[in-house]
């Protein structure tokens, strides 16, 4: 049920952001204490590449920015 998560290098992340001409704030987010983030050891500020098994495309890449969980 959990797709493959990979930490992107800074160059890869910069390339991604310039390709879509967006800032990293505009990426979907995931929290730093998310079990999948903890498993790969990513830190807040890292961009994660997620390789999903898509219903439509077969294989699709998606990206998320790791952020701190906001305090309630």
């Amino acid at each position: 049920m959990v797709p493959d998560h990979q930490i992107m290098t800074e160059e890869e992340a910069a390339g991604l952001l310039s390709q879509y001409s967006i800032s990293n704030e505009q990426l979907p987010k995931m929290y730093h204490d998310d079990p999948a983030v903890k498993t790969i050891g990513a830190k807040p500020g890292d961009v994660i590449r997620i390789i999903r098994n898509s219903h439509t495309a077969g294989r699709a890449e998606s990206y998320r920015l790791v952020v701190r969980r906001p305090k309630k």
């Binding site: 959990v2 998560h5 979907p28 987010k29 079990p35 077969g58």
Partner: protein, 387 residues
């Protein structure tokens, strides 16, 4: 198919699935290079044409595509899924539950798949089910309330313990601990005789019978084997393997039971999935649950609409509901929030907080009567004057 043609398919900018379908279709067919070119070009063209266009209002299309078939759904169903006799909420109430991102579904259930070694063997599957199903103490022996001596005596039935693969000594150790920890009842003392497999509980305060009966009630119902939240387990054979269906859900503890296939086991409690497996797994679970709820009612909604909804719900790193406490309620724009629900409250709060509306969304611009940033409204025409 020639290797170079295969290479060319790999290089085309179409989804993996389309490439695989194309390969499968062309495999073993004799075609000329010219025909191959023609096929490839038409596939690429077709793909380009079917892509959603920029500035298309996909959210509205998704809302209508899920909403209209939703009107055809059963309003209220108490359905017993198959022969498993496990009650699951289905139909519209379940769909609402998914979209509302409830913390706990009204009927939590799990589908537990087993490792091949356990899944193919009825007895082993049964053994796994005993590790999971919550079993109270009274199932393992005779409990007598001795009113004369103010004590509760339990004689364990060793045959039952053997059958359910648990040591009597383990039960004797677990029972008093669980009464303290899980049932939060501490006013008792106990004596254990491991050889005779019996245990005696005595209330601390021996003045009142009420204490004795209260203690007896705790002793009867304390869970000594299995996972506390899982009330019932049904073993069923489906497509050649044994699968466990449960009433109640606790995916974290279930994953630790030996013989459980953690890659396929699932629960219908989406917030539990997001806590244990992460936000991406929760997204997949939303898609799966919504699709199967709709599919079960014979309603076919394109998966793209559901994927869009699931993506929106999981955008911020946790599962957000669609509604005033989630996506719609956290919009930047005041007018957009006011247009959804509880209009006056939003306008009042915004006025008090001196909020500014940037008018960047669709709803706000409809309200003030400007072109919206969708479709042709998003295209700005820039004309360069000659010389």
């Amino acid at each position: 198919m020639l290797p170079e043609q295969d290479q060319r398919i790999s290089e085309t900018d179409v989804p993996v699935k389309t490439r695989e379908q194309l390969r499968k279709y062309l495999a073993g067919k004799e075609i000329t290079a010219e025909q191959f070119d023609q096929i490839l070009n038409r596939v690429i063209n077709e793909y380009q044409n079917t892509r959603i266009e920029a500035c298309e209002a996909v959210g509205v299309i998704a809302a209508q595509s899920i909403g209209e078939p939703g009107t055809q759904m059963t309003m209220r169903t108490f359905h017993y899924a198959g022969v498993a006799e496990i009650n699951v909420t289905l139909g519209l109430p379940r769909l609402i539950e998914i979209m509302d991102a409830r913390k706990e579904p009204s009927t939590p259930t799990m589908t537990i798949f087993l490792e091949p070694e356990y899944g193919n063997d009825r007895d082993k599957a049964r053994e796994v089910s005993w590790q999971i199903e919550a079993a109270p103490l009274h199932e393992f022996g005779d409990i007598t309330t001795d009113m004369e001596n103010m004590q509760v005596v339990i004689h364990l039935n060793v045959a039952v313990c053997d059958k359910r693969k648990i040591q009597p000594s383990a039960i004797l150790e677990i029972a008093p601990r669980k009464i303290r920890e899980r049932r939060h009842y501490r006013d008792f003392e106990f004596e254990v005789d491991e050889k005779a497999a019996y245990i005696v509980f005595m209330p601390k305060d021996r003045e009142s019978y009420q204490n004795l009966f209260q203690l007896a009630e705790h002793v009867r119902n304390v869970i000594v084997q299995g996972i506390d939240d899982i009330e019932r387990v049904v073993v069923r054979k489906e497509s050649g393997e044994y699968i466990l269906y449960t009433e109640g859900s606790n995916i974290k503890d279930t994953f630790e039971v030996e013989g459980v296939d953690t890659t396929r086991t699932r629960t219908n409690n989406i917030s539990e999935i997001s806590q244990v497996l992460g936000i991406e797994a929760a997204r997949n679970a939303i898609i799966h649950e919504a699709l199967s709820t709709l599919g079960e009612q014979g309603i076919l909604v394109d998966v793209r609409h559901i994927m869009l909804v699931a993506d929106m719900m999981c955008m911020e790193g946790e599962v957000k509901q669609i509604g005033r406490h989630g996506i719609a309620g956290e919009k930047e724009s005041v007018l957009s929030r006011a247009a959804f629900e509880v209009t006056v409250n939003h306008l009042l709060d915004a006025a008090v907080a001196n909020e500014v509306d940037e008018l960047s969304g669709v709803t706000e611009n409809v309200i003030v009567g400007q072109p919206i940033q969708l479709g042709t409204g998003d295209v700005k025409l820039i004309a360069k004057p000659m010389n």
